[in-house]
Amino acid sequence: MTEVELRNIENFILKNVSLKVHSGELTVLLGPNGSGKTTLLKVVAGLIPYRGSVLFNDEPIDNVPPYKRGVGYVPQSPALFTHLTVEENIAFGLKMMGLHRKAVRIKVYEIMDKLCITHLKNRHPKKLSGGEARKVAIARALIINPRILLLDEPSVSLQESSKLQLRNEVSRLIREENQTVIYVTHDIGEATKLNGKTALLNNGELIAVGTFNKILPAISRVLKTFNILKGVITSVKGELAKADFNGLKILIPREEHMEKGSEIEAFIEPDKILITTYKPFPGANTFKGVVNNIELSNGAPTITVSVNETQLKVFTKEILTTLRRGDKVYVKLPIRYLSVKSATPPLLKG
């Protein structure tokens, strides 16, 4: 399998990026929009110019054109070939190699079977759902047995269930097929759920590399507008759990290994928290709080709300005009936007 190394990569966005992607490993590339994540993928694929060096198994491939690099590229818009059916889309890479028709067919069916998309084989890309299109794009990239698989925001605009399926598929690829993968995301919730090495990119610079927990301080520094809560699970009930975060009792989605007493971290994006001054929101996770601070830096107003001891950062546009420091407000943390992760992760297999 292939180990990929980037040495001092520079171009119009990237600033001296050096990164090692070990063979058969998942590397999560995390960073805000415009930080150069996609650009880095395109450098690995050789699709855009760069200075510096890309090495596959210690061999520089800077002079190798993209069509000879053997890289599986899945762009954010799946970019399926709209004039071909699903089956023809997947077969494309093998057809380019000039493989015999029968051999192509066998391989295509094998991979469609693995990804459970055989029933889509005669469909046209325009008639696929977002999740289906993403799977087809991944199958199309995998069929050439890529030395490395590059996934650009593969879970964007997917439903929660499809996201889970996708993550399971990626971990299966790594576990069973020893596939080297770079997984780009801007979503911290997503990054917490992917058990991989995380590389944090900001403004074209590589800020930190390591396990998610290890580089968490750097992540919250870069993506400063982001709420991290530490707590302990007090009770579990089916797919939900109740956790105590410094006196704040929040209902959270429960992951398999979480039991009563597990230490956890919960994450929620500031724009996902609801805020109002009038009356409490219906449903769970509504709390009374006090506006602590309103920051109007660079056009993105951030409201800090104190609930008991906890400070929550909130983005909102609607009630800004009336809000003052010290105002009493209600905030709601919708369960579906809460990402949860064990603070003490279970032993990873493989």
Binding site: A45, L47, P66, Y73, P75, A79, T82, K127
Partner: protein, 256 residues
């Protein structure tokens, strides 16, 4: 659908009836506007005695030859212009410039360069079909989603393989809209060329009818021209539709 056909039929029949009526009641002299039935009869005689058919086949061969040579030529030029960004920047504006020249205006020039033979109308049709096709192919290739090209490249497509497997099929909608506009243009160009410089073909035939002041012959030839152009346009349309059906919902351009 049925009401639509019905409405069109009613309109057409009314117009034909008026055409028949006006000269018959003496509202217009017959030598200026012969009644519909007389024109149809002239068309019938000209067809059965072979005069019109001979001229028509000449025109048809010229149009088809010019068009079948012109479209691939345009495709080839368009693709090579679109292939590298440098080439594209230098030649696309030139193509856009050439595409707006009416080929009819070039006929006198072509008469000198190509001569007055059979090559003249064919060249004129070739020019009027290839340049717009070239321009539309080039701009069609430019509008292909770059991510699609990136993916195709990582999957091993480059050069000719990339062009035939991705670029041409992806820019087909553009190509077809150019072809449909040029289908009518090809007939007109051939017609005018025959009027100006040839001594055979439908255009020449009409000029002869004019010199004899035979309005019925003129109208009969005009009917043939209209029908041919329409059928030509229709067959390209059907071809496009069958490709669209084969390739699913190919683009979002609405079709009824």
């Amino acid at each position: 659908m049925q009401t639509r056909v019905f409405r069109v039929t009613v309109t057409l029949l009314t117009l034909i009836f008026l055409w028949e009526l006006i000269p018959r009641v003496g509202a217009a002299p017959e030598y200026l506007l012969p009644p519909f039935t007389k024109v149809v009869y002239t068309l019938y005689t000209l067809t059965t005695n072979g005069v019109l058919i001979a001229e028509y086949i000449k025109t048809l061969v010229r149009v088809l030859t010019g068009f079948t040579l012109g479209v691939p030529t345009g495709l080839l030029i368009g693709l090579s212009v679109a292939f590298s960004p440098g080439f594209r920047d230098s030649f696309l504006p030139v193509l856009a410039f050439l595409a707006v020249i009416p080929v009819i205006a070039l006929v006198p020039l072509l008469m000198i360069w190509v001569g007055m033979g059979e090559a003249l109308p064919i060249t004129a049709v070739l020019l009027c079909s290839s340049i717009p096709v070239a321009y539309n192919t080039a701009s069609g290739v430019r509008s292909v989603d770059p991510e699609i090209i990136y993916v195709a490249k990582t999957l091993g497509a480059h050069g000719l393989k990339l062009a035939t497997n991705i670029l041409v099929p992806q820019s087909l909608p553009n190509l077809f809209s150019a072809m449909k506009i040029e289908a009518a243009m090809a007939w007109k160009t051939c017609f005018v060329t025959e009027m100006i410089a040839m001594s055979s073909g439908l255009g020449y035939f009409m000029l002869m009818a004019y010199s004899l002041l035979r309005v019925d012959m003129l109208l009969a030839a005009l009917m043939v021209l209209v029908a041919s152009t329409y059928i030509f346009h229709w067959s390209i349309d059907e071809f496009e539709r069958s490709l669209l059906r084969k390739w699913g919902v190919f683009n979002d351009r609405g079709r009824t």
